[in-house]
Symmetry: C2
Subunit: 417 residues, 2 copies
């Protein structure tokens, strides 16, 4: 049954995508506002479905952190409603002429932004992804197939039905927004190999999920989210700024990809700034795993192992290493970085320039927190994920990352000599 489900939904999505490509912004915004209203009106139904998921989760022994991700309450539903309206307020990227020129033979060539077509989202326990991804895909003219984790299946089915019905009620094709009901591994497998039906897969979740999709998918994938992020405090880095940024980057929300996992500190700070900074972090509840020099400067630290430099803790743990120079910091980052976000605190212009030029990552931050690598913080209004790959889109992905382009060549009978 689930085998047919994915293929059938993909075929319907493809049919929908043809129509979606020519629907204008006014109509798309109408659908988004309708979706927002419908979510609002059906709050009780959503909460009821979510309670089922939560109960089932408790019975099967889901961890508290997972249960929290799974949870929908009035406030979170209001955020989903607000999200749909926010996406409606964004400029429609479709139809933008991104380039245009005339060749010597008179051919007029232009490049125009078009939808990707059919987007497949594979995600885990957070039901809000269902609405966030669907609203962004719809605004960018794409059909979307949503395959969330089995933990959230009741919530996802209800959310999917509410927003899909809202979209079809204003004339959108039935295949615009579809939630995969099958929660077995088969349905993921079929999504990953639906070549010719699905244009791109976006996995969102933990490293295991993303790795599995990268390895097994034959459909093009946008890799998202693994963040082994570093903050380097250079010799000239302002001490107060360094403390504020390190605390924010580590503790403001430790479970996310743009939090820092390793702090690199220039040797010049070992006597004064380092003990004070690590003290503040430890007082905030951060476990410090230090190199020998860091442990000497801050005896509450425990010794770091090689694995600590490689690990995305996603927790209140921080690896700390003292380095003798910018070069050594760059070498460390090049070796261990997942190329998500890398930051420096410095007042040395040459060092800032070198750090920006020589580090390869989706986002390089100078004198600010790594937590800003985020679609909303970048002003994109919303995001569908953070790409850590180099093709297509890199960094926070807003509406534009959900589009492709096509070339239009207009002539007056030109042939090739």
């Amino acid at each position: 049954m689930s085998e047919n489900e994915v293929t059938q939904k993909a075929l319907r999505a493809q049919e929908a995508a043809v129509k979606l490509a020519t629907i204008g912004a006014a109509k798309k915004n109408e659908a988004l506002f309708r979706m927002a209203d419908a979510l609002n009106q059906n709050e009780a139904t959503i909460l009821e479905a979510n309670r089922e998921d939560l109960e089932h989760g408790r019975q099967t022994g889901l961890a508290e952190s997972l249960l929290d991700r799974l949870l929908l309450n009035k406030q979170r539903i209001a955020a989903l409603v607000q999200g749909c309206r926010q996406v409606a307020s964004l400029v429609d990227p479709i139809g933008e002429v991104t380039k245009g020129w005339v060749m010597p033979n008179g051919l007029r060539i232009s490049q125009r932004r078009v939808p990707l077509g059919v987007v497949g989202m594979i995600y885990e326990a957070r039901p809000n992804v269902t609405v966030d991804a669907a609203s962004l895909c719809l605004k960018a003219g794409n059909a979307v197939i949503l395959r969330g984790g089995k933990e959230a299946i009741q919530s996802n089915i209800v959310l999917g039905k509410i927003i899909s019905d809202a979209a079809t009620s204003v004339g959108f094709p039935a295949g615009t927004i579809q939630v995969v009901a099958g929660t077995d591994r088969n349905s993921v497998q079929q999504l990953m190999t639906a070549n010719g039906l699905i244009d791109v897969l976006i996995p969102r979740g933990g490293a295991g999920l993303i790795q599995a999709v990268l390895e097994q998918a034959t459909v093009p994938v946008i890799e998202t989210g693994i963040g082994n992020c570093h903050l380097f405090i250079d010799a000239t880095g302002d001490a107060e700024m360094a403390v504020a940024i390190a605390l924010n980057a580590k503790t403001q929300r430790p479970g996310v990809c743009n939090a820092i996992e390793t702090l690199l500190v220039h040797r010049g700070h070992v006597d004064r700034l380092l003990p004070r900074l690590l003290g503040k972090l430890a007082d905030a509840g951060v476990e410090i795993r230090g190199c020998p020099e860091a442990c000497r400067a801050f005896p509450r630290a425990i010794p770091a192992l090689e694995a600590d430099w490689e690990t995305e803790f996603l927790a209140m743990i921080l690896a700390v290493r003292v380095v003798e120079s910018l070069e050594k910091a760059i070498v460390h980052i090049r070796r261990y970085s997942s190329r998500h976000t890398e930051a420096i605190v410095t007042n040395d212009l040459q060092n800032a320039t070198r750090f920006v030029d020589e580090i390869d990552a989706s986002t390089i931050v100078v004198n600010a927190s790594t937590r800003f690598t985020d679609g909303e913080q970048f002003g994109f209004g919303a995001e569908v994920g953070i790409s850590t790959q180099k093709l297509h889109a890199r960094g926070p992905m807003g509406l534009e990352a959900l589009t492709s382009t096509k070339y239009i060549v207009e002539g007056t009978g030109q042939i090739r000599p």
Copy 2:
């Protein structure tokens, strides 16, 4: 041995890529001019190696068309030399600030163009790809690993050594340009699964090669080249223009991806234009495979089978179908198109607009030959292939398609509230 070869070369390429990312345009152009001079000076050595490949090819019974692709002569070597100089004359895309803005909190965000890193080229018998791809990759700051077909191995090794030596002689790292010497399947397999070492694979060649790479690669791939292209002659299409474009699109070079494979003709042309046009095509040596109505209008046609609408002939064969309307033409194209290039000859503005809006392909052509879908014809100076996928790059790929971007966030101590 070959197992170690690919991994070793990929590691060396990755090391080179770090340095290449910070080399300026002047230095890169110096290398390109040196490469051009070296190819010029070593013409005799290149011809000698190529003779070996040709002899081996004749002994193993390669088809004439393959031997022709394999052939290098003075003229073709001169074209390679010219190609390197041409790439030197192109604007360096690296470092371009593609976007930039300031957030309300004072963060300055910019997006900067950077190299992809390490590019893997997998191609077939044409040794010119070795030089063309290497020069474009170098200009875009990428290291390249070149794995051509075994038929051209002697030519590729010699060409690779000449241009690699030229680049290193002006200070480029040894891993900048590398040819894989192993010609067994293993070396392709290793390239396709070198995740973390190779940033993108670009297969160039026949449908079989591209399909195999798409299915088996875990490294990101840019899909190139399959072209089941259509030309639709609308009711208002100018007859002379239609004849000239159809002849050019089918016969000027029938073996390439942007030649047409199917001609769709509006019913209004059945009595006059269609017989004349098909007569001219048949006189030029094109085999016409027609729908029943086309066969009635042009008795020299043979009946088309379903498979003919699906086939990229790459030969002097043309499938011809009479359609009653623009809608029917669009339906046919949507069903059979490989989304490479689709063309219309029309004088009806509404129909031109509908065709452009409703057809999904890398390139839509109005009143010109499909043969213009090409990097040089687009003014890109050179091309690394024609992408038929929707992610990253779509259509002819010049230097820009060989780049990625990174975001730079510059602050004054901002933290996330």
